[in-house]
């Protein structure tokens, strides 16, 4: 019962915040709505008993990515003209509605093979063994580290002032 109430609260707040992100005129207010949306996504992870990922969501999205986005908004403040739309409003709405219809139809019609077992909790230890064990995901973890290093170097090189 508590799970259902929390799910519906999170879902309503999340969808409202997502609409606020794209419909608010003020870009800074849109960023704040995005942060609210990230927090409710973390709540959804908790209702799915993914405790470690909820903590990671708060740390990475609410803590780091939102700060980066607000930094980007502040750095470009002189040319911020609110949240204008382009000419594609009607085709994009049609495409999004059609895609939503297809997705909802497929999701409700597919015979999901739902397992009767309860999900594993807490997930931190099993995730660590899954990620770092010999026959786990150790190679993708290393590749992820290289990707992050490349992203750091790329961001530094792209934003550096070109003094010639």
């Amino acid at each position: 019962m508590g799970l259902e109430i929390s799910f519906w609260i999170m879902a309503v707040v999340m969808i409202t915040a997502a609409f606020a992100v794209i419909f608010l005129r003020n870009v800074f207010h849109a960023a704040l709505a995005l942060i609210l949306c990230f927090i409710t996504v973390a709540g959804i992870y908790i209702t799915l008993s993914a405790d470690f990922l909820a903590a990671v969501q708060i740390l990475i999205y609410v803590g780091a990515i939102s700060v980066l986005i607000i930094l980007g908004i502040m750095m470009t403040r002189e040319v911020q003209k609110g949240n204008p739309v382009n000419k594609l409003r009607l085709p994009a709405a049609i495409i999004a509605a059609v895609l939503l219809g297809i997705l909802v139809y497929v999701v409700t019609a597919a015979p999901w093979n739902v397992s009767p077992r309860l999900p594993l909790t807490p997930t931190t230890m099993p995730l660590a063994t899954k990620l770092f064990s010999e026959n786990g995901f150790i190679l993708p973890v290393e590749i992820g580290a290289v990707l992050l290093l490349a992203a750091i170097l790329g961001a530094i090189v792209v934003t550096r002032e070109n003094k010639k």
Binding site: I65, L68, G72, V85, G154
Partner: protein, 103 residues
């Protein structure tokens, strides 16, 4: 009616479509990046829902969600760096006015 896998997947689909609509229609480059983040979050929700309903003892979906988060962090860092470079060059971040590669 108790909450099942379908609820989470429909929620994720709604969030993805809101993000898609925003990414297609907005002209502010920072708002487009924010909408892409919304779409990545929607995908994460469905991955974790699959993980805890279909294979509750394997956690494979959660591992994939971690990798999606890694790629999202790299993407937002490089994306904002590109937006700042565009701003420095054009003094504008309106994507309708940045049409150098448009034929």
């Amino acid at each position: 009616m108790s909450i099942g896998l379908t609820h989470y997947l429909v929620l994720s689909a709604v969030l993805f479509c809101i993000g898609l609509y925003g990414a297609l229609t907005r002209r502010n480059a920072v708002i487009i990046l924010m909408c892409i983040e919304l779409m990545l979050n929607a995908v994460n929700i469905s991955l974790i829902a699959f993980s805890s309903y279909i294979v509750p003892l394997l956690l494979t979906g959660q591992v994939f969600a971690i990798f999606v988060m890694v790629v999202a962090a790299a993407e937002i860092a490089v994306g904002l760096a590109i937006v700042l470079a565009i701003y420095r060059h054009f003094k504008d971040i309106d994507t309708d006015n940045i049409n150098l590669l448009k034929w």
